[in-house]
Amino acid sequence: MTIPGSVPDTEDSTAVISSAENASARPVIQARSVDKVYANGTIALKGADLDIKQGEFVSLLGPSGCGKSTLLRIMAGLGDVTTGSVKWWEQDYDVVGDKGRKLAFVFQNATLMPWAKVRGNVRLPLDLEKDSGPACEQKIDQALNMVGLSNFGESYPRELSGGMQMRASIARALVTEPNLLLMDEPFGALDEMTRNKLNDDILELWQANGWTIVFVTHSVYEAVYLSSRVVVMAARPGRIVEEITIDEPFPRGPEFRVSQNFAEYCRRVSESLEKASTMGQEQSQ
């Protein structure tokens, strides 16, 4: 683990991960023909096929009701599929939580326990796994350090700003040193400045630690900026329509946001979204 601020050396070739290098990486998630129908008859997801490989940063992008959060929750084991199958590290869900196969989830809201201090909140996953001792304290320190909250361990969540609460929530996800990080529109409720800052921070952490991240968002810019691959989804019924590889080197910075390539990718992704939504309307008529 490294600390944000210590940007990995760009000269270091291992720091630059392109999606081409990922092609042979080992699969983390394999979803096959996943359907999800809720009890009230809503078809949240239809025939979703998705592979997530080790070290990828994949964004699920789409309008409300396209099933992106549903798909993410299925990946987290928070809901069963109606038909189809999902594999984690090529095995059943039972394998999740074992060493090297840890999973963490960051919710749309910070979802902190208001009665516990930031440190207590970050400690929670370790407590639940009955992990304690000095090594545990060190992990908490590290996690707080990574998100820049070292001085706020003794604060209560209400004393923090929205962005800081989200950082605490991320620290809680990081404390177990997860291999797969699932994030459900984590920065959706934040202002643009905070969101950009957290985008950069999460990219930096991802690169430094070799995690796999699946990131749900409805922002085209955020998806293109962060991801090695964008999965475009459409609504009614929720489905995957296209996967667009963002073949740009990491680390990415502010200059990428204003580059010609960024604009071009955004245009392509937007077009794909547009096409998907009109297709959906035709189908539903």
Binding site: A76, L103, T111, P114, W115
Partner: protein, 267 residues
């Protein structure tokens, strides 16, 4: 208006209602004297405090009897009520099957069943306590159950994702989250325990060594000792206010770090 005391929030909080009380009593006394109302119809505050002083010993004894029943009933209500809530959240089936009976207890007028309970239970203190418990337990059950159920579903998901045991889920998530509701229940329940104790005593009409404040009121009214009756009434309401204040204090103590109800917000 530059008096620093006026600006002191704490001072105003206590001084303002006290001022209203003193003003009210002064007006009361003046009216009673001006209209020359007979003390057995409406005594003035001075006469009431005189009666309080004269009958101090017997009133204090009666107060202790009532307090004993109140606290016993309140304690049992809290323990039993929380136990019921914990049982209810174990399964929807248990809650659905039993909750209507908790409501039944709440809507049955205590005055109507107190005579029965007094016949069934020989020991007066326990008979009165049971009546008071029937009155006081419902807010504890309903509030605590609601609190234990009102968990942030995402936090619950997270607990399940980290494979938390049911015990961990209860102690680390449900119970802390239910505390504000629980204390809300206590505030209502403490008052009801007192009312239940007094009402049951009215029905029981226990005299002698076990006579409580309700019996004092009954006796005084028979004997037309109206100031003494008011003095007993004053003690009952005073006790109720103190109980409520105690609950507020406890609640603030437990929640002051995180819950909105115990926090001061500035705009």
């Amino acid at each position: 208006m530059s008096n620093p005391l006026i600006k002191n929030e704490k001072f105003v909080q206590y001084a303002a209602p006290l001022f209203v009380g003193v003003l009210f009593m002064a007006l009361w006394e003046i009216t009673v004297r001006a209209l020359d109302v007979a003390p057995y119809i409406l005594p003035g505050p001075v006469a009431i405090f005189q009666a309080l002083g004269e009958n101090w010993e017997s009133l204090l004894k009666a107060l202790l009897v009532t307090l004993k029943v109140t606290f016993l009933a309140f304690f049992i209500s809290v323990v039993l009520g929380v136990a019921c809530s914990l049982l209810f959240i174990q399964s929807k089936w248990i809650e659905v099957s039993l909750f209507p009976y908790a409501i039944l207890m709440q809507v049955t007028p205590i005055v109507a069943i107190a005579p029965l309970i007094i016949i069934w239970i020989n020991d007066t203190t326990w008979a009165l306590t049971v009546c008071a418990v029937i009155m006081a337990i419902f807010p504890v059950i309903s509030n605590t159950t609601l609190g234990l159920r009102s968990v942030d579903p995402n936090l619950l998901n997270m607990f399940r994702m980290y494979r938390a045991s049911r015990w961990q889920e209860l102690t680390r998530l449900r119970i802390p989250g239910a505390l504000p509701y629980f204390f809300g229940g206590l505030r209502i329940s403490s008052g009801l325990a007192l009312i239940g104790a007094v009402v049951a005593e009215f029905v029981a009409g226990t005299g002698g060594a076990k006579a409580g404040l309700a019996y004092m009121i009954l006796q005084s009214s028979y004997n037309l000792q109206i100031p003494k009756m008011f003095a007993a009434l004053f003690l009952i309401t005073g006790t109720g206010i103190l109980l409520f204040a105690l609950m507020v204090w406890l609640s603030d103590l437990a929640l002051r770090n995180w819950h909105e109800s115990a926090l001061k917000t500035e705009n």
